[in-house]
């Protein structure tokens, strides 16, 4: 541990600061988008009193969360009840660390700046490992609250999240097969450039356009909704059936932490879909120069793609009604699981034949 490279440390701190800042701001922005977006879809004004277009509504909400009474139910398991929101927050905030968010470029000193916090070669595996910890926050909250609604919400959520996590991990295998690596940096680099389909259309070499991988994309994208407990699959809360599900007994900032984790998990999931299937930071039909201009453009491209997917999350929530629980499990186990496995076999065949 001698000879610490302080420039390297400084760059690491800078990257962490940028990403954490973005992640912590995702929640207020997305709450605003969600509320205004739902208003747009349902043809009503939405929040429009606090600031222009109600932009500061989220900050007003945040202050209200701090000022509210922090409840501690008498029958609850006090310790688990308190640390459960934290347990949800940690994976939601950390998983983004292995996602590359821009094209690397050379700094003036000749040093390569890689816009990724931790360029580990087990990237995607680390994401799934951390995401599997996210279930515990919900289940612990549900159990510790000593409330029937909470318990059922938590248990339902656990079964749902693990089922769809399976589809996610298996759908990701197809992409990794094509990339030949677990590192998300390699996955993105493989998707740069373009290919010509049927000698007619020139398409970006993104995995979504690959004839072998559209099934994996559908499985991954829809499972992403289930994994983040978003609307067609929000059985952790299911407010019509379970009051508020696992956070029925939560109030004040403890509830806000769950709320934040949900939006952060959504952002991470969008970033992951972008990275795995939509070419990450790649700009279609354009080769970015290896300078800071290319870096800035690629970051812009990445943020744009993530934003579009985040908006689809909101759009779907206000368009598609919740499934029935048995349909949810059937969809996960009887449709997505075989689809993902079949897609793996297809991709493997494509590679063996030299088509991919």
């Amino acid at each position: 541990m001698h000879g610490i490279d302080w420039v390297d440390v400084g760059l690491s701190v800078l990257k962490i600061a940028i990403v954490l800042g973005a992640m912590l701001n995702v929640t207020p922005i997305m709450v605003w988008v969600e509320r205004r977006g739902s208003a747009l879809i349902q043809d009503r004004p939405g929040p429009n009193r606090v600031g222009p277009f109600g932009l500061f509504q989220s900050f007003a909400d945040a202050f209200k969360f701090i000022l509210k009474e922090d409840m501690l139910p008498a029958k609850a398991n006090k310790i688990l009840y308190t640390i459960a929101p934290m347990f949800g927050l940690i994976p939601a905030l950390t998983t983004i660390a292995v996602v590359p968010w821009g094209r690397p470029f050379t700094l003036p000193g000749g040093r390569l700046f890689e816009p990724i916090i931790a360029n580990v070669n087990i990237g995607i595996l680390l994401i799934f490992a951390l995401a599997s910890m996210g279930v515990y926050g919900i289940v612990m909250a549900g159990w510790a609250s000593a409330n029937k609604y909470s318990l059922f919400g938590g248990i339902r959520a656990s079964a749902q999240m693990i089922s769809y996590e399976l589809s996610l991990t298996l759908a990701a295998v197809s992409v990794l097969l094509a990339a030949g690596s677990l590192s998300l940096t390699d996955v993105v680099w493989r998707q740069t450039g373009s290919f010509v389909l049927f000698n007619v259309i020139k398409l970006p070499a993104w995995n979504i356009f690959s004839p072998a991988m559209w099934m994996a994309f559908i499985v991954f994208f829809v499972s992403g909704f289930a994994e983040t407990n978003r609307m067609p699959f929000d059985f952790a809360e299911a407010d019509a059936e379970l009051v508020a599900g696992y956070h029925t007994e939560y109030s004040s900032m403890k509830f806000a932490l769950f709320f934040m984790s949900e939006y952060m998990a959504m952002a991470t999931m969008s970033a992951l879909v972008t990275t795995l299937f939509l070419g990450g930071w790649d700009i279609p039909w354009y080769t970015e120069p290896a300078t800071w201009v290319g870096f800035a453009l690629s970051v812009l491209s990445f943020v744009t793609k993530v934003s579009i997917i985040l908006f689809i999350f909101v759009w779907v929530r206000w368009t598609i009604p919740r499934l029935k629980y048995d349909l949810l499990m059937k969809l996960g186990w009887k449709v997505f699981l075989p689809m993902a496995v079949v897609n793996i076999v297809i991709v493997a065949l494509f590679i063996a034949r030299g088509w991919l």
């Binding site: 688990l80 580990v120 070669n121 595996l125 612990m140 248990i155 656990s158 693990i162």
Partner: protein, 222 residues
């Protein structure tokens, strides 16, 4: 002391302490969560040793495993009726004996030099060599089968993959058989439990309703 040693000592202590708490805790849910903590610490130890692939799989698979344990506890045990005040069960003497025996076994096996394991540096875990048996003609005319080292694979998951799918191919396929057996086992056990619970827990009106549903279905199909 190097920072790595300090981290190892801290994480190792947490791992051992929480694994003791797994058996010492009265509430089974707490036990399950301490088991989770133990596994997380072990995963960190794996990563420190350079085996980050094993560490990640440890979290991925074992975290799910604990979830099963958790659900098992919630399913079977009515937490209001906790076991009585006695901390040790009647089998503690036997348990202690078995525990000591296992400890002795590990102690003698894992001690450096006894069970020689070549993994000394972090780099060793990240490289694997592909070996092949080759017939080698000795100068005196005899033919000996020798292990020849061929290619070199770098990278942790690559090393695991190469070893798993070439040298340990048969154990790998046998593992799938085990998974198959476990799958069937899960269903068989679950079915028996279900029927027992059904009899005691489902209220009469639910059974009546399902009968009515059945009749309606028959009428519809007719």
């Amino acid at each position: 002391m190097s920072p790595a040693l300090v981290v190892f000592l801290v994480i190792g202590t947490i791992a051992v302490a929480s694994s003791i708490l797994v058996v010492a805790m009265r509430n089974p849910v707490h036990s399950a969560l301490f088991l989770l903590l133990t596994f997380l610490c072990v995963a960190i130890l794996f990563v420190m040793k350079g085996a980050e692939f094993v560490g990640a799989v440890q979290v991925l698979v074992y975290a799910g495993g604990i979830m099963v344990l958790f659900l098992f506890v919630v399913m079977l045990i009515n937490v209001r009726h906790l076991p009585d005040e006695r901390v040790l069960s009647n089998f503690w003497k036997g348990g202690l004996l078995v525990g000591l025996a296992v400890f002795l076994l590990f102690f003698t096996m894992v001690r450096p030099g006894v069970f020689h394991d070549p993994v000394a540096s972090d780099q060793a875990l990240r490289t694997t060599y592909t070996y092949r048996h080759r017939k080698v003609h000795q100068p005196d005319g005899t033919v000996v089968r020798k292990l020849i080292r061929r290619g070199k694979v770098v990278g942790n998951s690559e090393a695991v993959g190469m070893a798993l799918y070439t040298d340990y191919l048969v154990p790998f396929e046998v593992a799938s058989l085990f998974l198959l057996v476990a799958m069937i086992g899960a269903i068989v056990i679950g079915k028996r439990e279900l029927s027992a619970i059904e009899e005691e827990n489902i209220p009469a009106y639910m059974l009546e309703r399902s009968e009515t549903e059945h009749e309606v279905k028959e009428a519809m199909s007719a």
